[in-house]
């Protein structure tokens, strides 16, 4: 066992972790540990843009962004935090630009912006150009830029270190335990402040846009140390994943005028009950549900489980004319194949590589794909972890980005708000964690800080059963996709809970092939599956108990939102006997809940 001491330890090196590391390291000794190399994190897969009311092409205001986000959250977001994020947005986007981020540009040389789902001019109700973008690789540019700045500022990295435990004693948090993947050795990082920025858990589901690395490590480790997970029943299905593969096709495609068509060639989003006003640019939950229902009614392409996303110039121009869409200068909105290629080069590359389809000439086959966890480790608006219904803090413990639940996304996140969340709360948690560390003392380490991790690893290594990790994983993904997906009902969710519990039992009976220490990915993948199983169980149990439909949690048996009973956050604890649930109030300031119509 090796020991290190840093005032602040950041776990995860995506957008949130890098931003936190940059800010914390300005005043406190800081280490960033990540199971991947820094530029490998999943922030890099984000495509369409980062939301900020810059108003570079048309009038826009942070207050509109705030309202849109509250509405998008289906009124489950905490309004103080949402307001804070949307007000900070323009400044932080300029800050990224000053760090060198190569945004696409307007004719005037300003940061380019495009429309995105759920973002509107609050006066006209029409889509507004708020998503600041760099072609369709905005996340890649953010990740690269923040990593570049980290090199410039000499941030200390521990690459390919798998965090496995929080050291939590009666006095508080004292650091983390991590496994050095290259050697198999355990390291103790003694710290005053810990910032979790470990990303999401889309690998719980069969069809997902998420990386293999997205196994919910931060949330699972926190759950094992008595920290609750909030609002886990809300998991976003992005409407447009590549059929069967789940690879993300950015909402920016629809922002540029792309149309969703069913097997009859109908533009179904304009149907009454879907989104007759903003159509394809409704919130993701709304679009995914409309797609699911189309396919259920047999309106998929050739009756199959997919639909078309069409961004060919003919289709875009035809519907833009029907909608009366104009450019900022008032001229009719018309695109050429060249413009589409310039604005969506990666999407075109993905479709050509994986489907042999060129989106400039042919429509893309798409289906909803598991994309983003709105829930996570509960925090206040500075990333400080709060561990009960009264929002009492766990001093020194911070969480930020997808593994955190501030909650700015409530029950459904708007596109472009995840990248914004990463950098805004990454920055502020970095500042706060350093401030806290400067005023605090190190909590002494317990006698054997690695004991809990060693037990888990020994159990995995020594298990001599006949179950394969991959089989258990596949069964989990299938049952979660089937029953805790876009639409849910009581019996299905109950079946999922039971199945996950059965899989957790079977997991105790696995057998690993790799008995070594160095780069034992067999062992680490098994440990990651244990995280996913815990998260699947918490998700399914939280979902089963919420008897309403709100945002991404859509129930056939309770189709309406029920503010009287359910306008509250779920808190879930994992203990020996299973999962314990409680609820806490939503913070709302000025936006009274209304029916959500797009």
């Amino acid at each position: 066992m090796k020991k290190h001491q840093f005032e602040v330890v950041v776990v995860g090196a995506g957008g949130a972790g890098l931003m936190a590391g940059l800010y914390a390291s300005k005043s406190a000794s800081t280490a960033v540990i990540s199971k991947l190399y820094p530029a490998r994190s999943h922030t890099g897969a984000a495509q369409g843009g980062i939301g900020a009311a810059l108003g570079n092409l048309e009038e826009d205001r942070p207050e509109w962004h705030t309202y849109d986000t509250v509405k998008g959250s289906d009124y489950l977001g905490d309004q103080d935090a949402i307001e804070f994020m949307c007000k900070e947005a323009p400044e932080i986007v300029y800050e990224l630009e000053h760090m060198g981020l190569p945004f696409s540009r307007t004719k005037d040389g300003k940061i380019a912006q495009r429309p995105f789902g759920g973002h509107t001019n609050n006066e006209t109700g029409k889509p507004v150009m708020r998503a600041c973008y760099a072609a369709d690789r905005t996340g890649h540019m953010i990740l690269q830029t923040l990593y570049q700045q980290s090199i410039k500022n000499n941030v200390t990295f521990y690459d390919e270190f798998q965090m496995m435990d929080i050291i939590r004693t009666e006095e508080g948090v004292a650091g983390v335990v991590a496994l050095e993947i290259a050697t198999g050795e355990l390291h103790v990082f003694h710290a005053k402040s810990i910032i979790f920025a470990t990303g999401g858990w889309g690998r719980v589901w069969e069809i997902t846009s998420n990386a293999y690395a997205y196994t919910g490590d931060g949330v699972a480790v926190a759950l094992r140390r008595g920290i609750p997970a909030q609002d886990m029943e809300f998991f976003q299905f992005h409407p447009t994943g590549i059929y069967k593969m789940g690879i993300l096709i950015t909402e920016g495609v629809r922002g540029e005028g792309g149309i969703l068509l069913n097997g009859k060639g109908e533009r179904f989003m304009e149907k009454e009950g879907n989104a007759p006003h903003v159509k394809e640019l409704a919130s993701r939950d709304v679009v995914s549900r409309a797609m699911y229902l189309e396919m259920k009614q047999g309106n998929g392409i050739n009756g199959k489980r997919y639909l078309y996303l069409d961004v060919t110039p003919e289709t875009v121009n035809k519907y833009a004319a029907l909608d009366g869409r104009t450019r900022p200068d008032g001229t009719p909105y018309k695109v050429t194949g060249e413009e589409i290629l310039g604005k969506l080069p990666d999407i075109i590359d993905f479709c050509e590589t994986y489907l042999g389809v060129n989106p400039v000439t042919d429509p893309m086959p798409v289906q909803p794909t598991a994309h983003y966890g709105m829930g996570g480790i509960p925090t206040d608006k500075f990333g400080q972890v709060v561990i009960d219904k009264k929002r009492n803090p766990l001093p020194g413990m911070f969480a930020v980005g997808e593994n955190a639940c501030v909650s700015v996304h409530g029950s459904n996140r708007l596109g472009t708000n995840s990248l914004l969340d990463l950098v805004v709360f990454g920055k502020h948690s970095g500042i706060k964690a350093a401030e806290y560390a400067k005023a605090a003392d190190y909590i002494p380490l317990p006698e054997n800080p690695t004991e809990f991790v060693e037990k888990q690893l020994e159990a995995l290594r020594n298990s001599e059963g006949d179950e394969r990790v991959s089989t258990i994983g596949t069964e989990m993904k299938e049952v979660m996709f089937e029953h805790v997906g876009v639409f849910r009902v009581e019996e299905g969710m109950a079946e999922a809970v039971e199945k996950i519990r059965e899989l957790k039992k079977r997991f105790k009976n696995i057998k690993l092939d790799d008995k070594g220490s160095k780069f034992n990915m067999d062992l680490l993948n098994a440990w990651e599956l244990s995280n996913l199983l815990d998260i699947a169980e918490v998700t399914a149990v939280s979902a089963l108990k919420r008897k309403e439909s709100r945002g991404a949690h859509a129930r056939d048996d309770y189709p309406e939102r029920d503010d009287k009973k359910w306008m509250k956050h779920t808190l879930a604890w994992l203990d020996e006997d299973g999962i314990k649930l409680d609820y806490k109030d939503v913070i709302y300031t000025r936006f009274e809940p209304k029916k959500r119509v797009y």
Binding site: A45, Y94, K107, R137, Q148, I151, F519, D522
Partner: protein
């Protein structure tokens, strides 16, 4: 479904004195990614097969490998693209092999860090964005796409011959800033690359350009850097 034979380079530093190959046969769809095949083998035949992967769609840069002799991302090549059902997978060349398909990327990242791969401009920033025209932005667009996978550098004979050569990926990263109209660090970067282990080790073999999974015109970018050093201007 078609039957595929996968011949994998194996080396376990804890048990092997030298590398060997293992062969696996499996059923696959022609549209399966090579990465999918590795996952099937690892999941169902031999869990000790070790490789890096994350995003699985060509944007994170984790899974550069030598597939039938050519550097590729395992997640960005399909079985049907290879034109054969016999697939040999080996680690990328020129970096120390740690286990199976996993190489030590530290020398690669150290080369990258040596070229000041970050934005430099110490002038006080405006209240809003720095203005950059569409054309100025376009000037360095190609080299912003780099995902640091290492496929280019480890396909370069000059790098194989001497790993002190910074390699194509590092030059691509330098290019991205040298030609950014907002950046002020070009002179210093050009000086770093005007070195015996800098751009002149490039013999325009074009392996890098062929290997790049992001289709960056790497040899051209290196040529532009060479020209900037020779002429002292960035036009």
């Amino acid at each position: 479904m078609t039957q595929v034979t996968l011949k994998l380079f194996r080396y376990n530093p804890e048990t092997d004195t030298k590398p060997h190959y293992d062969t696996f046969t499996l059923k696959a769809e022609p549209t399966d990614r090579v990465l999918d095949l590795l996952e099937i083998v690892k999941g169902h035949q031999d869990g000790s097969v070790s490789f890096r992967r994350s995003c699985a769609h060509g944007v994170c840069g984790s899974d550069a490998m030598r597939i039938n002799g050519q550097n590729m991302l395992a997640c960005k090549v399909l079985v049907q693209d290879l034109g054969t059902n016999k697939i040999t997978i080996e680690p990328i060349l020129g970096l120390p092999i740690l286990k199976d398909l996993i190489v030590d990327m530290d020398p690669f990242f150290n080369n990258y860090k040596s070229v000041m791969p970050y934005f430099v401009n110490d002038d006080s920033a405006p209240a809003q964005e720095r203005i950059q025209s569409v054309e100025e932005r376009e000037r360095f667009d190609d080299t912003t796409k780099c995902i640091l996978c290492g496929a280019c550098t480890t396909s370069c004979p000059s790098f194989w011959a001497n790993d002190e050569y910074v390699g194509p990926a590092a030059i691509v990263s330098a290019h991205r800033f040298i030609f950014d109209s907002r950046d002020k660090g070009a002179a210093e970067r050009l000086q770093i690359l005007n070195d015996q282990f800098g751009v002149y080790r490039c013999r325009t073999i074009f392996n890098c350009t062929v290997a790049c999974p992001r289709d960056i015109q790497i040899t051209q970018a290196i040529g532009e850097v060479k020209k900037a050093i020779a002429t002292g201007n960035l036009d």
